[in-house]
Each structure stands twice: as structure tokens, then as C-alpha cells.
Symmetry: C2
């Protein structure tokens, strides 16, 4: 008897018809004699609708109450799925986050799972029931309902798989798996059969969100093999696992791109200790996430500093940066919202020299100008003009032979 932990996202349970199809899929596993734990998200747009309702009350909402409100979405879909399973004679029980023993800290809206008390889950499994758990939520030490942040249901599922020592952890979503590039841009993009935690983590944080970054982190931390696959067909998905278990370590596994990018540059920033910290502290205080940062070579005693932020935070950031310019005595600023980020990700990059050069060469051959570069051990990202992003993704996909099969 195996134990499966499965997760179904909001679009997979977006209607009663879809919930009924999910129930069929679970009953098939259960009827083979295996145990099943199911983590569900809220139906379709429920969370967004609840958020909109709340924002109509005030734009300064108490985070505790927001979590109290939002957690109802998952509770509803969990109960409905339990009913759908009962209707096809598959005994099931739905549990809220607190009933499932998902103990978190008290950071409402982005709570971290601290401990899993799986006694209730194990008791229900022992009674032969499918256990359906409302994802995205936990309970704080004070007995309050918390939510784990967007995509928190992925994290719930991976944490439960780790804690229950599940044999299988499957994230059912609305795509077939992780691709070498966005199939809408690159015709020859292929589904990747297996990918390392580290690569998934980079891809997830680069905008190719198939598995939430925090869930990928959890999987890496507890060494849980996670398969991402479609809930709408039976195609094999992508296995996210440790590098050692992978058949083949690729130099470059995939090309990610992100157009939700804006670039801001500050001119003639005084070259004094602590200036950079002032700039990024002020941005952080305004909850503006900074991604790439580049400090140019010194000219006399002044620097230029450029950085990228999410484009949807640009209007807010612009005003903040204007203040910063005055505060630190810079000579001015420039910005562009017509840029985008293209990245290559691959675990084999660490042991292969010349990968960066190959990337820059491929872009140069297409006459694509690079504005900024940032690198990690398994990733190289370039900021380029947004109108060249598709050309860049296509060129890199070809240059690293990603269309040639595994």
C-alpha cells in the first residue's frame, strides 16, 4: 500500500464538473488499494473575489481578518470534493488547516509552516478514508487562522508529503509540466521529464511558475520528489528531484523570460559607505521588491546604480525613487518600462565554462543589446529590450540545443 499526496489547483477544481472529475481520478488511486491525501485550492477565482470584497471596505485591512476571510475558499472546495467522493461511494473526510494540524507562525498572509501534527490525518487514513485538506492555510500558536501566501497550497502539499513520508507527491495543475521554454513562444519547446530542485527554484522565481518557489524550497529541504502534471489529461509530467537522481545533468535545462520588469537608474550616487543600504532600505520599507542590482564602475567619487523591479510596482516606485535622489544627493534618474528579462537555467552550468559567453554570443548574433547581466551558480539573466524578448528566447532555445530531445 502506497501513500499518495496530491494537490489540485484552483482551475482544477474551478467548477462542480471539474470537482467531479478530480473525484474520479482520486477514486481510481484509492480503488487500487492505496491511501490518498488531497490538498485543494479554492475554486477558480474565489480568492480574488473575496479579496475584492474586502478591498471595498478599506485599503488598510487587518491581516488577521483577511486570512480569516480568505481561508473559507479552500474550506468550501475541500467540503465539496468530499461530497463528490461520497457520491461515488469513496469515503472521504475534509479537514481545515487547523484540523489537519498545519501549525504555522503568526505572519498573517505569508505564514510559515512550523510543525505538522499529523495524528488526525493518520487516524482518518487508518479508517480507510481519503483525506482532503484545505490548502493555503494553517493555525497560529494563538489559535488563529493563517494563510501561507499565494500558491501556499503547493507548500501545504509538499510539507504534508514530507511529514507523512508519502511515496508519491503529485501537483496537478493546468499545464503538462515544466517546459524548456514557453511553448507559446517556442514551437519546439519540449516538456522536461526531470529537473533538479535548484533549477526548479530558479525557474519558479524567474516567472515560469509551475510550482511555487516556497514549495520547491520545501521539497529541496526535505528531499521530496514532486511530480507536476496536468489534471486535464493523463500525460506524464515533470519530476522535480535531487540532481543525483537525475539520469542526465544538462548544462542548460530551460529558458525563462519575464516581461513584468522595469529598470531604474540613479546617476552620480555619492560613493560613501551606507548609501546603497539607504536606497534599498527605503525601497524595502515601501514593499518594493528589487531584483537585479548593478553598480557601475566608479567615476571620480560617484557611482551609477541601476536596478530592476516588478513593472506593476513602477508607479509607486517612481515617487519613492524621486525622494531617494534628493535624500542621497544623486544627480538624477532614468527609467524604462520597456525592458524584459531572459534567463538560462541549468544545474550543469556550474561545471561548464563558456556558458555565459555562448549566451551573449547567441544574443549578439540576433543584434540584441544587453542592458544588465546577473548570474548565480545555475542561472544567467540578461535585461534586454522588451520588443526583442521572443527573438531572444527562440535564439537561446536553439543555441543550447533544447529542441533536440533529452
Amino acid at each position: 500500500m502506497s501513500l499518495w499526496v496530491t494537490k489540485f489547483g484552483g482551475s482544477s477544481v474551478g467548477s462542480l464538473e471539474r470537482i467531479s472529475r478530480v473525484a474520479q481520478r482520486i477514486a481510481e488511486i484509492k480503488n487500487r488499494g492505496d491511501n490518498v491525501v488531497v490538498v485543494v485550492s479554492a475554486m477558480g477565482d474565489t480568492t480574488d473575489e473575496l479579496l475584492e470584497l474586502a478591498w471595498n471596505i478599506s485599503n488598510d485591512l487587518p491581516a488577521r481578518e483577511l486570512d480569516m476571510l480568505l481561508a473559507t475558499g479552500e474550506q468550501q472546495s475541500a467540503a465539496l470534493l468530499a461530497m463528490a467522493l461520497a457520491s461515488i461511494n469513496c469515503p472521504a473526510v475534509s479537514l481545515t488547516g487547523w484540523q489537519a494540524g498545519i501549525e504555522s507562525d503568526s505572519q498573517y498572509g505569508k505564514a510559515l509552516i512550523m510543525n505538522l501534527d499529523t495524528r488526525r490525518i493518520n487516524r482518518e487514513l487508518a479508517q480507510g478514508k481519503v483525506v482532503i485538506i484545505a490548502g493555503f492555510q494553517g493555525i497560529s500558536p494563538d489559535g488563529d487562522i493563517t494563510t501561507l501566501g499565494r500558491g501556499g497550497s503547493d507548500t501545504s502539499a509538499v510539507a504534508l508529503a514530507a511529514s507523512l513520508k508519502a511515496d508519491h507527491c503529485i501537483i496537478y495543475t493546468d499545464v503538462d509540466g515544466v517546459y524548456t521554454a514557453d511553448p507559446r513562444i517556442v514551437d519546439s519547446a519540449r516538456k522536461i521529464s526531470s529537473i533538479s530542485y535548484e533549477e526548479m527554484l530558479e525557474l519558479a522565481s524567474l516567472g515560469a511558475v509551475v510550482l511555487q518557489p516556497r514549495a520547491a524550497e520545501f521539497a529541496m529541504l526535505y528531499n521530496v520528489d514532486v511530480e507536476v502534471r496536468s489534471s486535464f489529461n493523463n500525460n506524464p509530467g515533470t519530476l522535480i528531484t535531487e540532481v543525483a537522481k537525475m539520469e542526465k545533468q544538462r548544462v542548460v535545462s530551460g529558458i525563462a523570460h519575464d516581461t513584468n520588469v522595469a529598470r531604474i537608474a540613479l546617476f552620480d550616487v555619492p560613493d560613501q559607505p551606507g548609501v546603497a543600504s539607504i536606497i534599498f532600505k527605503i525601497l524595502a520599507d515601501h514593499c518594493i521588491n528589487v531584483d537585479m542590482v548593478i553598480q557601475s564602475a566608479m567615476r571620480d567619487d560617484r557611482n551609477d546604480i541601476a536596478f530592476t523591479i516588478e513593472r506593476n510596482e513602477f508607479n509607486k516606485a517612481r515617487h519613492v525613487v524621486n525622494e531617494i535622489v534628493i535624500k542621497i544627493g544623486a544627480s538624477g534618474m532614468s527609467f524604462s518600462t520597456e525592458v524584459a528579462k531572459v534567463s538560462i537555467v541549468g544545474a550543469g552550468m556550474q561545471s561548464n565554462r563558456g556558458v555565459a559567453a555562448a549566451m551573449f554570443d547567441a544574443l549578439a548574433r540576433q543584434d540584441i543589446n544587453i542592458h544588465m547581466i546577473s548570474t548565480s551558480e545555475i542561472k544567467i539573466s540578461c535585461i534586454i529590450d522588451e520588443d526583442r524578448i521572443e527573438d531572444a528566447v527562440k535564439a537561446l532555445h536553439k543555441a543550447f540545443h533544447l529542441d533536440e530531445g533529452e
Copy 2:
């Protein structure tokens, strides 16, 4: 410093605008320096919408899962009201049934409150917060979410008022209070300023539902004074209290009527011990509620038995009764869905002879035929033709001088 327990029904919190008005009303009490506990129902039609969703899955739903689903409605309105209070700088905290310590038995869908552990509520009150509690729900000994049945929020409020020893218990609803008769029928109907628990209980179970029967029972059991008043204006409402506290004990306090009535008669039922029990056992097994029962004088060794049921259960009942006729060897049945029930209710009736005669006389003067009669210590009900119900209510209202003021 007084403690107020207030309850707002579904129509009182039916929109964000109404929730905001409720918040204003609560803040006024709080700002006078008093403590406030608020019990809320789900917004408007939320419960019905969730029920409809569930019934689309199956017509044999697991009761536990239905409670899990329905309880989200009150959790949402509680959280939204807490946000609305925060937005006008009135600190508030929302609690689910289990967070508020509302411990019930395990009868899903109609759970009974067994115990109230008010530690959390008292802790929040001590911190100066308005405590908002999701009504209609509790937690079973197994840690499962239960609901207290339709109108259960009234019961939550009265139970909390009893347990917290509240100074005031106010049920805000969409009517001004309890009337001597339905104001839509009788122009001169007056709002009753105070009424006894027993009278309220009879009126509530006779169809004049202002306070749920179980809440009235709870109020009587724990001797809680409950005021029912409108959430849409500042008019004084009706105080429900013990007879001893009332200024004046009326012979007849009000006229109730109910058109959700159907009458079924069985002819020539064998006069054997146990026959009546067979009939009503079968009806109960099919969840058909029987109200009035009359067994006619014996003719030879056979009886006629007539009873009333809720008209909306008539189609189901008809088939069941056909089977009963065959099973017990009766000669046949008749039925009418064109009947209605009119009742007079008054605590002073017990010590006043001649009240029944006065009722029958008032109906006879209007040429209204009486099909069935049933009496309790403080109530007399008659089944009459439905098309005469308005005439009957008007005539009785006048006959017992209810239009003449208190």
C-alpha cells in the same frame, strides 16, 4: 460598564453597505464605554447558494461535509464586519464557532450547544476589542465543525448572553419586533412591547418567526431577557422576558396564522392498539412533520384520523399515506391543501375560562367553518379554509381587543 450581546441576521449584513451600517451601530455602543459581543449570520442568501451548489453534487450529502461547507458563510461575514469596524478605528476580532468555544454535540445540521468555553471571548473583551462571532456553528467533541440548524445564530446569541451573563441581549433583524398580528393583514396590528418566553415560543412555532423557537427555549431555560428590534431604524423593539417581569398579563397577546398547511384524513382506521403509532412512525421515518392530530369518535370498531402537515411536504406525504392506507387496512383517504391555521396565543389564557368559546364565536359570526381544533395551555389553533384566513385574523384581532393598545 455593561456587556451587550447583539445578533445581526443575514439581511442585516446582506451587503457591504449594510455591514458598514452595522459597524457604525456597534461602534456607538462601544464608544459609550460598554463591551460588545456580536453574533452574525451569513450575508443575505449565502447559505442558500452554498446549499444549492451542494445539492447539485448529490441528493444524499454527508451531513458532516455540509456543515463544513455552510459554516464558511458566517466566517466570511464575521471577518468582513471586523474589517468594517477596524476601518472606523474600532478594534475588533472575529472568531469562528470553535475559536469562540461553542461546544456542541455531533448532530450535524442540527447540533445542540453542550457547553460554552468563553475564555477566549473574555480575553479579547479584556483587551478592549469588539468580539464578532460566526453564528450558527459550533465544534463537536471530535473537533469537527457543526451547524446548529436554521436560525441557529439566534441560539448562539442567546446562549452566549446566558453564559457571559450579559446585561443586554439584542437580536437585530429586519422587522421592528413582535406584532399582535401580521401588519400586512391587520392595519391596526400593534407592536407588543413585552411578551413572555412561553408566548414567544408558541408564536415562533406557529409561523410568526421573529426569534427562532430554540433560541426562545434557551432564553426561557436560562432566564435571559432578549430584545428583538430592527437593524434598519432606532424604534424600540419587543422584550421577551419571564411572565413575572411583565407589567401586564394579557389573556390574548397575539394572533398567528400559517398557510403552509395541508390536511390529510384516513377513513375507517381499524380500532386496534398500535395503529396510530404505525401511522406516525412511518411518517416520521419519511421526515414528514405532523402538526395537529384528531381522532374522531368511534363508529363500531373503526375510527377516522385526520392530521395536518406542512404543505410543502404534501407531495411526498401523499405517496406515503397511500401506502399507509393499504398497510393498516383503512378504507381510504382524503386531503386538502386549501386550508390554513389561525391561532390565538396568550399567557393569561390559562386562568381565563371562556377564551375558546370567544374564539369560536368570533369565527362563527364571520361564517367561518372550523375543520380542526387543537389547544395548549396558552394557545388555541383552528384549521379553516385558506380563503377565509384574512377575515379570521382580522375578526380575532378585533374580538380580543388587540387594536386597543396596552
